[in-house]
Amino acid sequence: MIPGQFDYHRPASVSQAIGLLAEFGENARIVAGGHSLIPMMKLRMATPDHLVDIQDIPELKGVREDAGALVIGALVTQTELIASELLAEKCPILRETALQIADPQVRNAGTIGGNVANGDPGNDMPAVMQALAATYDIAGPNGARQVAARDFYEAAFLTALKDGEILTSIRIAAPAAGHGYAYQKQKRKIGDYATAAAAVILEMSVGTCSSASLALTNVGDTPLYAAAASQALVGTALDETAIGNAVAAAKDITDPAADSRGPKDFRTYVAGVMVKRAIETARSRATA
């Protein structure tokens, strides 16, 4: 559990960080909270020669509102995210999800940027970002660009992020006031990845679901945006049949690996249970 040798860099700005990444190429890795990368380095599954620690870059910090959008800096820790009253008011699913990530010590160090950028299918925030239709702000040697969370994840640990790029912030159009939300996660113990988890954002209008957005965690190679399942809810009263249809549609797109959390059929079944419960909770929270 001792990592190999590496050099450590601590840039003070995004441009400096991009410069370092350009200089060292694929031998460099960005580190922020370190809760994904450092364990992999200790197991020598990752052996970067250069670590670019971005924690001193002020422009990556803080939560703010920008033209109606919520903007969360990549360095915002899970603890800061939980503490943000702005997010709690405008987008409470983030607090609900962050509270289900690991334990307070990990949340004190782990960042939202690392959680979404690493491409680990076990991470919780990517599915939530897909449900929220978030976009990621990315800076790189060729300037800035944006990628939708729903388009970002390609395979396990493989994302739209190119060599030399840094995810700088997350941009979320705040869901409508009175929306229903839930992040339903089953895990074996504190600190564990989900056996299966589901994120739901929905709106009700006079007893009918007017919009719904569903995504799944850790039941495939990537987070899964469940378009068909979402669609199955819109225009219904979220009755048993509609929820059943959404559950079936969500289960259809899962492809979990058999691991110590359980065999495939179990994890698929649980994904369905999480979807069902998340919809029920979201429905009970929707006020319009």
Binding site: I2, Q5, R188, K189, S260, R261, P263, V270, V273
Partner: protein
């Protein structure tokens, strides 16, 4: 001179002796981060060792190239089996009469096995060098199923002993067979089962798990070449035995070896044995002349040092139709891994598994255990229990429940119907154990009443009806377990490890001003010996516990003892402490008689002093007597006040308890919540109720961990699975329910203070209670038995098989 004194009971209270919940004296340093663990040790010039380990479960080593590693600056040596052979250290004896490869020779036999030992200036260089050692393997088929080990076509694992037809415990049936151990009357049991009105059968498996102490195993070895003395500081649960074994292995005379156990961060059986890391660190220190530290990381600890359980027990239990048990039979396969490195007493290769008749008066019983080799890590230690008692207790407590289903009888009622009755003690079991004392019915009645057992069953009936109507997706389960432990090994006449009798010892020196130091042959790993042994002595010699220092773990200063495991410290060393205290008191009585000018017999002991019978104003306190021992010339009495006692217990002790667990199972997710857990323990005389409660909490939490998730498995190729804390279940406060504790007190008749030991009881009883509760939740649907661990997916699978998941 005799001013107004407090009353005897006030004085007794000040001593903080037996029965006092005095705070743990150890905690001041632990809570301030001032403990001194192995990895805190830094010696000048200290080097670090690290292992190259096998990546395969079973393979031939075709070559080892250490050149690249040796070329790395800061690397001093790369030790392989070729370096150990001339020293005759390529194999070391295990505590079970087998030999274990220190470094692999021609073959590796489990993933994680030690292949080479790198010695470097710091641990980072050592870790880098490990990556540079090139080992070439030729993979062989792995044997991971213990049942297949007995089949003729199974691959032969131990080529080093393949022609040995006689093992340490009798004939070997095949090259992967270690021993067969039998107990009880085969014929009588066969007859009783044939004649039984009802026979229930079940295969009860207890999965391979691991004690997983928070501090992993490690040591610092330092060979002083000037005086020829070897000092080894290490995570040793039995430092004196380690010294003797080290002397036998290395041929260094025993007086030239000093073994020290500093603070130990939990042992739970994992730190009883001798590991290749210790031997390699010693060799490296001898070779380099510098101190050498070796310490495992978590994955190494979970995958290479001693595991626990891995017992697969086929049971048959016979009874009359009205529930009187007439016979019990068990055939068990014991998976010992690649080497037989159990830490059982020599004559008991399956430990005390023959206590498998539990708390019940079963007239005929027979068991047969086959120990086998597989391509897994060696071990088979007692994880917070006495030798194989948890396996035995789990077996009988599951079999009783299985029988209860068969008879359609309440499991608590079936237990009570078959209890050994109070008037039957001392009771000799069908396999020959003499239970010293017990009052099971009283304990069970108290437990059933405390949880309102009848009310729980009524609630469960309503829950099942509601489930049937579709009103809930949760099922309620009630688990009852009643266990009897067998601890305090043990009488030297039948208990030894490597020929060393399992007595223990205490040496006391009373200082002139009336304080004292006591040293014992045991070693605390969190049990609080410095607190509780002082309490025993306080009550025996009338010196306040706070004025008694307790030291253990340094073989240069402590008297010889067999160490701490199997709940033996209180039953054996605690008894030695009481007996040594009584020797002190006997001498103090002679001194008092001289000073008070009366005959010895005219004095009586009162809390902290000798008082002249009939003249309460004439007395001498222990403090006064201590001083007199050092400043008076008393005819016929040597100066000083010291005593030593080596205690050979006449029998084991038999703590028992009644545990009841209530669970609610979400059948759609398999999530099982422990709603309530009640634990009644009877450990005889209670030395420190607060420490007992802490021990029970800790043991129950480990029981929860085992019952609900802890498991080390291997895939077909012999790759170890789950050997990190990502997967291996280590409960935190979040996963741990509230524990309710209670007690009855049935003192041991043969122990000097009537104490029986308690640290391990909650693991023994807890696993059964939880597992019984999970099984009970599905009992009305026809489930007889479902195997541990009861993690989400297995519980869900059970529900699925019963048609509950749609």
């Amino acid at each position: 001179m005799n001013e107004q004194t407090p009353t005897p009971s006030e004085r007794a209270e000040k001593l903080q002796g037996l029965g006092s919940s005095r705070k743990r004296v150890e905690d001041a340093r632990f809570t301030q981060g001032k403990g001194n663990y192995i990895d805190d040790m830094k010696l000048p010039g200290m080097l670090f060792g690290d292992f190259v380990r096998s990546i395969y479960g079973h393979a031939r080593i075709t070559s080892i190239n250490k050149e690249a590693a040796l070329a790395l600056p800061g690397v001093l040596a790369v030790i392989t089996v070729e370096d150990l052979k001339p020293l005759k250290l390529d194999y070391m004896p295990t505590l079970a009469g087998d030999v274990q490869a220190v470094l692999a020779g021609d073959k590796v036999l489990f993933q994680g096995q030690e292949v080479a030992f790198v010695v470097a200036e710091d641990r980072y260089i050592a870790a880098d060098a490990v990556e540079l050692v090139e080992v070439e393997y030729q993979e062989l088929p792995a044997l991971v199923d213990p049942f297949k080990a007995m089949e003729p076509e199974a691959p032969v694992l131990r080529e080093d002993i393949k022609d040995k037809t006689e093992g340490a415990h009798g004939p070997r049936k095949n090259p992967n067979h270690i021993f067969t151990w039998e107990a009880g009357d085969a014929e009588a049991t066969e007859t009783a089962l044939d004649q039984a009105e009802v026979v229930a059968k079940e295969l009860i498996s207890y999965q391979r798990c691991h004690p997983c102490p928070l501090e992993t195993c490690g040591c610092v070895a330092s060979m002083d070449k000037v005086n020829g003395k070897l000092t080894v500081w290490g995570t040793f649960q039995a430092p004196h035995a380690v010294r003797t074994v080290a002397s036998l292995i290395t041929n260094i005379p025993e007086h030239k070896i000093r073994i020290v156990s500093p603070d130990i961060g939990g042992g739970f059986g994992n730190k009883v044995g001798v590991y290749p890391g210790y031997i390699c660190a010693i060799v490296a220190s001898i070779v380099t002349g510098a101190p050498v530290k070796w310490i495992e990381d978590r994955i190494e600890n979970l995958s290479a040092t001693a595991f626990a359980r891995d017992y697969h027990m086929k049971g048959e239990i016979g009874a009359t139709r009205d529930g009187k048990i007439t016979a019990l039979r068990c055939y068990a396969i014991a998976d010992h891994g690649a080497f037989d490195a159990c830490a059982d007493p020599t004559k008991f290769p399956a430990g005390f598994f023959s206590i498998f008749t539990g708390s019940y008066d079963i007239p005929a019983a027979f068991l047969s255990v086959d120990g086998v080799y597989t391509n897994k890590a060696p071990g088979g230690v007692a994880y917070r229990c006495s030798f194989r008692v948890t396996e035995a207790s789990y077996f009988i407590e599951r079999m009783i429940d299985v029988l209860a289903r068969e008879l359609n009888m309440d499991p608590a009622e079936l237990r009570m119907k078959n209890f050994i009755k109070k008037e039957q003690f001392p009771y000799t079991s069908a396999t020959g154990w003499e239970y010293d004392s017990g009052d099971y019915q009283t304990a069970m009645d108290k437990a059933l009443q405390a949880v309102d057992y009848t009310g729980l069953r009524t609630e469960q009936k309503a829950n099942r009806e509601a489930f049937e109507r579709g009103e809930t997706r949760k099922l309620m389960g009630v688990g009852v377990a009643f266990f009897t432990e067998i601890v305090g090994a043990g009488p030297v006449k039948n208990c030894d490890i490597l020929g060393l009798g399992m007595f223990d010892s205490c040496e006391i020196r009373i200082h002139p001003t009336g304080s004292a130091i006591a040293r014992l042959g045991t070693i605390s790993q969190g049990q609080g010996h410095a607190t509780t042994f002082a309490q025993i002595l306080a009550s025996e010699i009338g010196i306040a516990a706070e004025n008694i220092t307790v030291e253990e773990g340094d073989t240069d200063t402590a008297p010889y003892g067999l160490g701490t495991y199997g709940s033996r410290s209180t039953p054996v060393a605690g008894a030695a402490a009481a007996m040594a205290g009584r020797k002190i008191r006997a001498k103090a009585q002679m001194i008092a008689a001289y000073l008070l000018e009366v005959h010895d017999n005219d004095l009586e002991w009162e809390v902290d002093r000798f008082v002249v019978k009939g003249a309460p104003e004439r007395f001498k306190t222990m403090t006064e007597l201590a001083f007199a021992a050092y400043n008076q010339a008393i005819p016929g009495i040597e100066p000083g006040l010291e005593a030593v006692s080596y205690y050979d217990p006449p029998n084991m002790t038999y703590p028992f308890g009644a545990y009841i667990c209530v669970v609610d199972i979400d059948v759609d997710t398999g999530v099982t919540e422990i709603r309530r857990f009640y634990a009644l323990d009877d450990c005889g005389t209670r030395i420190n109720p607060m420490i007992i409660e802490g021990q029970v909490h800790g043991g129950l939490t480990e029981a929860l961990a085992i019952a609900m998730g802890q498991e080390i498995t291997y895939d077909e190729l012999g790759n170890v699975q789950g050997a990190s804390l990502l997967d291996y279940f280590m409960p935190t406060a979040v996963e741990t329910p509230h524990w309710e504790t209670d007690s009855t007190v049935t003192p041991s008749p043969h122990h000097p203070i009537g104490a029986k030991g308690v640290g391990e009881s909650p693991n023994v009883g807890g696993v059964s209670a939880i597992s019984n509760a999970v099984n009970d939740a599905f009992a009305h649907l026809g489930l007889k038995h479902t195997a541990m661990p009861h993690d989400h997916w297995r519980v869900w699978k059970t529900a699925q098989k019963l048609g509950l998941t749609g």
